[in-house]
């Protein structure tokens, strides 16, 4: 019985403990991000880089994307924004993510799914390359310690 109580205590302590913003140093994070840059959806062409992990079905990610487009004039000239699609398990959004990544115009599909401005049809994506990209992003996210969406990073540091 006491083991069960001890186990419960450890579990609740771990769950209640404040989450670390990131598990790696900013420099290490930048190295890791560099490996998945080509898998990102890129908005803007400014000098400063913003790296954001988002889930297409996460409401906060959707709000974030709405704001990015709302302020596109100011933001897209100053910043280059890399959007990495990374699933929140509970959202079960993998199919949506694969559809975006596999789309001819990733950005258009992203907007259709996340902002609901256009009709879209989800298909079963079995493309290996797409699946690989999905996994690579998930792997980097895990190493960095991405624990929320949107997870926004500037200069290798998380918000």
């Amino acid at each position: 019985m006491k083991y069960i109580i001890l186990l419960l205590f450890i579990a609740t302590s771990l769950m209640g403990a404040p989450k670390e913003k990131q598990l790696v140093t900013p420099d290490a994070a930048l190295v890791l991000l560099e490996t998945i840059k080509d898998k990102a959806i890129v908005l803007g062409s400014g000098d400063k880089e913003i790296h954001s992990f988002i889930d297409p079905l996460c409401r906060m990610s959707q709000r974030y994307l709405t704001l990015l487009y709302k302020r596109n004039k100011e933001l897209f000239s100053d910043y280059t924004i890399y959007l990495y699609l990374h699933e929140i398990k509970s959202k079960k959004s993998k199919k949506h993510i694969l559809n975006i990544m596999d789309a001819e115009s990733e950005e258009r599909m992203l907007r259709a799914i996340m902002l609901g401005k256009e009709e879209f049809v989800l298909m079963d994506i079995e493309d290996e390359q797409t699946q690989k990209s999905f996994d690579e992003i998930a792997d980097v996210a895990k190493k960095i310690g991405v624990f929320k969406r949107p997870y926004i990073m500037i200069n290798g540091k998380a918000k």
Partner: protein
């Protein structure tokens, strides 16, 4: 003296002989100027105040622009959060957004709230939001549930909503539909030629009627209107020639007319009553003889005294100075050319002397005055003077110009969003809240938002400016549209909202100006700039008032060679000011630029009265004549025109109170009070002081009239 008389006699003959040429000459000039008149009068003196103002110049030197802030006061009724009210607020925003000059609207719908949304596991966003895009139902719910966040926009009973409009130039809100009963605070009247015409029609009609009543003939009314019209048009045109790019404020023109109108009254009145015993032509010569020197000296006092304002940096003070100089000179020239030429065409049969009996009555009363009353009066006035000085010394901020609006907008020049700039802002927040804790409802700045975001990101971490991640804050400021509000051209913009009906904004402004040791904080909203400019001007105006007092004393001393007379002149001119200050302090009315303009009007009239009265009284001092007789003659010859002139101006200014132009109305009220005090002092205190002096020093024997002037 004989040489002077001879020259004046020759001059008088020349004017009468050449009267057709003189009248034609001035009439042609008048017609030419009237048909080529392009000068505009303005009721909105904001731009005039700003030009030459130190604060405004500093703003321009730092490549910043002024902002116009207007506070809309909307009546919501007893259901402030009804669907209708919220829908109308949204409609109002839509209408306001169509005005391109409006750069920012601060209202419950645009108010930014920093939040940390945590929908569920792993879906978290720290951000700033407004109610602007929310549905009506969502807006109502949020306003009710988080009212504290929006309370600064509402009156305590929630029936009044305040919306703040920031614009790049003045905005005329009558052009848009505002679906509420509303007032606008912080706006000024714009140019309106219709108002000007009405105002001058009121003035001229009043003068016409009053002249007719005072003299029981239409002659002075016609001549008075001609004289005033010529003086006014010539003054406006001359001013336009000297200062082509500066519009003329109506109140300044009023000061100029008030200064010059008395010349007409003295000359006409003297000519009018002299026809009791002389022919019209002889009367003209006599009146020129009697009035030339006093009018010359009063003109000098006005030109040097009030005219000294042209040496100030402030454009509006220069404007007053130029106009008084021009109107005084023009009135002097016209008095002894055009007016004399016109008078030579008229003759008054059985001239009516309105104060013939009252002059004798008052002279009799004052000649036998009780010294105790005089002493008591001076003691009371002295106590009032000491009280005024003590009050002003103890509460210096209480005497400054009052400002109605409750917003202050500042610029802190900086290198953008840096830790140093945020630390400076933190210090400013801390200091101003410590000093005006109960008077400030809110301060908007980059520090406020940076602090809000930092706390929302990491609530457990104690906030320190040095820990703020500037990269994230900069990104957030753009993402949530905050940067435009608080940082422009690398400078930080701070907006301070004051509690309604709390501390006078001017006191906070002065504190801000003194807070910054480096003198780098800039006021950028026009109302605050105006308050600062007026505050700085008050000191100059007080100096001018004191200078005029000194000048009057100097002229009187020059005329009489008697220090005691100079002292009397000084006392008689100070007494109305002391009583006026007493009234202001008693009624808790702060000293404003309007009251100082009224003081200048009063000083101009009072100096006229003092110099004329003294000159005549001195002339009528004869070794064998009684005090009563000398006083009676002075009352008839000078007291009456002083009374008539002051009464006419008093009624005119009283009418201006109802002119529905705030600045003019306020000047009207103050002028009425000051002219009343001045008239009482001139008619009751001045003669009594002369008699007192003469009795105590035996001046009658020492200075026979021949030595005067």
């Amino acid at each position: 003296m004989n040489h002077f008389k001879n020259n004046l006699y020759k001059y008088n003959r020349l004017v009468v002989q050449a009267r057709i040429a003189i009248i034609t000459f001035f009439s042609l000039i008048f017609l030419y100027l009237a048909f080529n008149m392009t000068a505009m009068l303005t009721h909105n003196d904001d731009e005039l105040w700003l030009q030459g103002s130190n604060e405004f110049n500093r703003l321009l030197e730092n490549s910043q622009k002024q902002t116009y802030v207007q506070k809309l006061r909307l009546e919501l009724g007893d259901e402030p959060f009804s669907v209708k009210n919220v829908s109308n607020i949204k409609l109002l925003h839509a209408n306001l957004n169509n005005i391109k000059e409006i750069v920012k609207i601060d209202s419950p719908l645009t108010h930014k709230m920093i939040y940390s949304s945590d929908d569920e596991d792993s879906s978290v966003l720290v951000g700033a939001r407004t109610l602007y895009d929310n549905s009506i139902e969502e807006t109502i719910t949020t306003l009710k549930s988080s009212f504290e966040e929006f309370s600064r926009f509402y009156s305590s009973d929630q029936e009044i909503l305040y919306i703040y409009l920031f614009s790049s130039s003045p905005v005329d809100l009558t052009e848009i539909y505002i679906p509420f009963e509303y007032d606008v605070i912080g706006t000024a009247d714009d140019q309106d030629i219709f108002k000007d015409i009405i105002l001058f029609l009121i003035l001229l009609t009043t003068l016409f009627i009053l002249f007719s009543i005072a003299f029981r003939t239409i002659v002075p009314s016609i001549l008075g209107i001609i004289f005033i019209s010529f003086t006014t048009l010539f003054t406006i045109s001359a001013y336009q020639y000297i200062q082509p790019d500066t519009p003329l404020h109506v109140s300044i023109l009023l000061v100029a007319i008030a200064v010059s109108i008395m010349d007409f009254v003295y000359i006409y009145y003297g000519w009018h009553i002299m026809q009791v015993s002389h022919s019209s032509k002889r009367s003209i010569y006599n009146v020129v003889m009697k009035t030339f020197k006093p009018i010359f000296w009063t003109t000098i006092v006005s030109i040097i005294g009030i005219g000294s304002l042209i040496l100030q940096n402030s454009v509006i003070l220069q404007s007053i100075g130029y106009n008084v100089i021009l109107s005084s000179m023009i009135a002097f020239v016209l008095s002894f050319t055009l007016l004399i030429a016109l008078l030579s065409y008229f003759k008054i049969k059985d001239p009516y002397v309105i104060t013939k009996n009252s002059s004798k009555f008052f002279a009799g009363l004052e000649a036998k005055y009780e010294r105790t009353f005089l002493v008591v009066f001076f003691v009371i006035t002295g106590v009032m003077f000491v009280t005024s000085v003590a009050f002003t010394s103890l509460n210096p901020s209480e005497i400054v110009a009052k400002s109605d609006d409750e917003v202050i907008s500042l610029v802190l020049p900086s290198d953008g969003l840096t830790h140093d700039a945020l630390k400076r802002l933190e210090q400013f927040h801390s200091d101003i809240i410590e000093r005006f804790e109960d008077d400030i409802t809110s301060i908007t700045s980059s520090y406020k938002y940076a602090r809000g975001f930092s706390k929302a990101y990491d609530p457990s971490r104690p906030f320190e400016v040095s820990n703020i991640d500037l990269d994230f804050i900069s990104f957030d400021f753009i993402l949530y549209g905050i940067a435009d509000d608080v940082i422009r051209d690398s400078s930080h913009h701070v907006t301070i909202y004051l509690e309604e009906d709390s501390i006078d904004k001017t006191i906070v402004l002065q504190w801000i100006r003194e807070w910054d040791n480096n003198n780098s904080t800039l006021l950028d909203d026009v109302n605050s700039l105006l308050s600062a400019a007026k505050h700085d001007t008050v000191n100059h105006m007080i100096l001018v008032v004191l200078f005029i007092l000194f000048l009057i004393s100097l002229v009187i001393y020059h005329v009489t060679k008697e220090k005691a007379y100079a002292f009397i002149a000084l006392s008689v001119n100070i007494i109305p000011l002391i009583w006026f200050f007493g009234v202001l302090i008693l009624l808790e009315i702060p000293l404003s630029i309007e009251s100082l303009v009224a003081m200048l009007i009063m000083m101009a009239l009072s100096s006229d009265a003092t110099i004329h009265f003294l000159y005549y009284y001195h002339r009528h001092l004869r070794p064998k004549s009684s005090d009563e007789h000398s006083l009676e003659l002075s009352f008839i010859e000078v007291g009456t025109p002083i009374g008539i002139g002051s009464t006419i101006l008093l009624i005119t200014f009283l009418l201006l109170v109802f002119a529905n132009i705030p600045t003019i109305s306020t000047i009207g009220i103050y002028s009425v009070v000051l002219i009343s005090f001045s008239l009482l002092a001139d008619l009751f205190i001045l003669p009594v002081l002369f008699i007192e002096l003469i009795r105590s020093k035996g001046l009658r024997q020492r200075h026979p009239p021949k030595q005067v002037l």
